[in-house]
Amino acid sequence: MKMDWRALLFWTLISALLVYMTLPAFVVIMASFNPGEVLSFPPKGFSVRWYIKAVTYPDFQIAFRNGIIVAAFASTLALVLGAAVALLVARYKFQGRGLLEAILSAPLIVPHFTTGFGFLLLGAHLDINQTYLIIIIAHVVLVLPFVTRAIHVSLQNVDPNLERAAANLGASPLKSLLRVTVPLMLPGLAGGWLMAAILSLTEFSASLYVTASRTQTLPVAMYNYIREYTDPTIAAISALLIVATTLIMIVANHFLGLRKILAIEPR
């Protein structure tokens, strides 16, 4: 089979890129099976003891629960806000629309630790720094641009004539929203929610500032662990996190189609 040298070069580059991107994950997963107490690569055997330790380690258990709580609230809140804004921007023309869009995109430009630090100061002022609330607020702000973008794209695929048809047939604006617009936005909404959840679960830089020892999320707990211990537990918990997020993405792609949700391809 003759292969064009350009095609060969293309596939070599792509493969190299993929290897480069997945190598850290690959190394971590392999290191997690090392039976010895020192983090090393390549592993000198095969053992799942570190997985058992990771799953039973109290700090990780609490952090995991915290992460789930924060992610659930932050994603849902971001979804509702993002959907409201996306609907507003898509269906109505108003002054300051461009400004609103710019403000919403701002978190993308500002570094996470800056946002985190800002919320730390704010949280101190409002005396909510020991609570889930400040973490949830910070995560909502950080995640909102992605959610709004995903919903905006899915909304563009909803023919505005459909809403006119619903109104013509007797549906009030609320009924039209619930019976027509939202059902058609559902893939976008679900994808947006999942993306927000993953971003929240894995968020580190801002969370480092706004979490306290009781409320720390998993990435923060992992960071604290590795400052003190260098055993493969950290590799195990990392591997679990990698596998979990990968599975979520695979499931989301199968049922919803990530191309649409991530705004790579309009329908």
Partner: protein
């Protein structure tokens, strides 16, 4: 308040502009219950805007719109009880055919049993019985069209609004749908407003036609009257094929009128009683292609023109022939069959007989 005498729709002095573009200018119109009326005109004439204002998707800048006697100007679309068929059908993709058609009834809180029965009847009327569980994407364009129609008629609206519903269909399907649409109108008796730019469609379907141009109503007439007696040059040219002759001077004497086009080209005929022309009047004549033919001895000394054959367009049942006539330019005539192609090939001279009594004469 609605009373039995009230017209189905009354448009009173309605105006609407989009910035500097005038979509409607002091438009007034009364539409009778149960009639099939068509808004006809070229793109941008304001016909769709007028339809949208009746439906409530646009609000007029000034004037009133009444549906069955009630002023609806401040009512949102969902309270007006109109049924609309969109050009793009706008079927709900996440619902099957049954639920699409049932939607309007559900909004009106009709009982489940009655919904099912009425949906079945509506689908039967558009000849789609049995397709209740299909989705829109599984249907052909023509079938989607029918579902959209069923969805609009099942709610028994005060007015049925159709926004160029047949323009996306191919020729044969279009003709078929026109026939079925007329049937549906006959069976339901719904007041129907049909918007189109296709004058043939308007002529075949309507009880009355409203011809519009640049936001103004040009003429409101029954199809036959519209074709025979267009009110102005625009309507004459827009509805059906017609030859617009250059302006002519009249000379009237002894019950006859002679139209002079210059350079000794004239047409002479009897002065019609309904046409008060005087010598010196300047007029524009419009003659339909079917009213010009090959002159033969049989029609005596009727109005004649001399010209040369430029093209023959054979259409099977008839031939459209273009003849170059001095001063008047290229005239189009429509002759039965294809004999003319053999008898008068391209380039040959021809004597034309003009049915002046059928001509449209507009002062100008």
């Amino acid at each position: 308040m609605s009373n039995a005498d009230a017209r189905a729709v009354e448009i009173v002095n309605v105006s609407k502009s989009f910035g500097s573009a005038v979509a409607a200018h002091a438009v007034s119109l009364s539409i009778n219950r149960g009639e099939f009326i068509t808004f006809l005109g070229p793109s941008g004439c304001g016909k769709t805007t007028l339809l949208n204002m009746i439906a409530g998707f646009e609000t007029q800048d000034s004037g009133e719109i009444r549906i069955e006697g009630k002023d609806v100007s401040s009512m949102p679309p969902y309270q007006r009880d109109t049924g609309m068929v969109f050009q793009t059908y706008a079927l709900f993709p996440h619902m099957n055919v049954h639920d699409n058609v049932a939607f309007g009834l559900q909004m009106r809180k009709v009982s489940r049993k009655e919904i099912d029965s009425r949906v079945a009847k509506a689908l039967a009327m558009v000849k789609l019985q049995g397709l209740e569980s299909r989705r829109a994407r599984q249907l052909s364009g023509g079938q989607q069209q029918r579902v959209a129609l069923a969805r609009a008629i099942v709610i028994r609206p005060k007015v049925l609004l159709l926004d160029e519903p047949l323009s996306a269909l191919d020729r044969s399907l279009r003709t078929q749908m026109q026939v079925e649409l007329k049937e549906v109108h006959r069976k339901t008796g719904l007041t129907t407003i049909f918007v189109t730019h296709d004058q043939g469609e308007a002529l075949s379907l309507s009880d009355r036609i409203v011809v519009m141009n640049k936001g103004e109503i040009q003429q409101v007439s029954k199809p036959l009257d519209l074709y025979r007696h267009p009110a102005n040059g625009f309507v004459a040219s827009f509805v059906g094929e017609i030859n617009a002759l250059p302006s002519a001077q009249c000379v009237v004497s002894g019950g006859k009128v002679t139209f002079s086009f210059g350079d000794n080209v004239t047409l002479e005929g009897k002065l019609r009683h309904d046409q008060p022309l005087k010598t010196g009047d300047k007029v524009n004549l419009f003659v339909r292609p079917e009213h010009i033919g090959m002159a033969n001895g049989a029609d005596g000394n009727g109005p004649r023109l001399k010209g040369r054959i430029a093209t023959h367009i054979y259409q099977g049942t008839h031939t459209v022939t273009r003849v170059r006539v001095p001063v008047l330019g290229l005239l189009e005539l429509r002759v039965e069959g294809g004999e003319i192609i053999e008898r008068k090939p391209v380039g040959s001279d021809i004597d034309l007989a003009v049915r002046l009594d059928e001509a449209v004469i507009i002062r100008g």
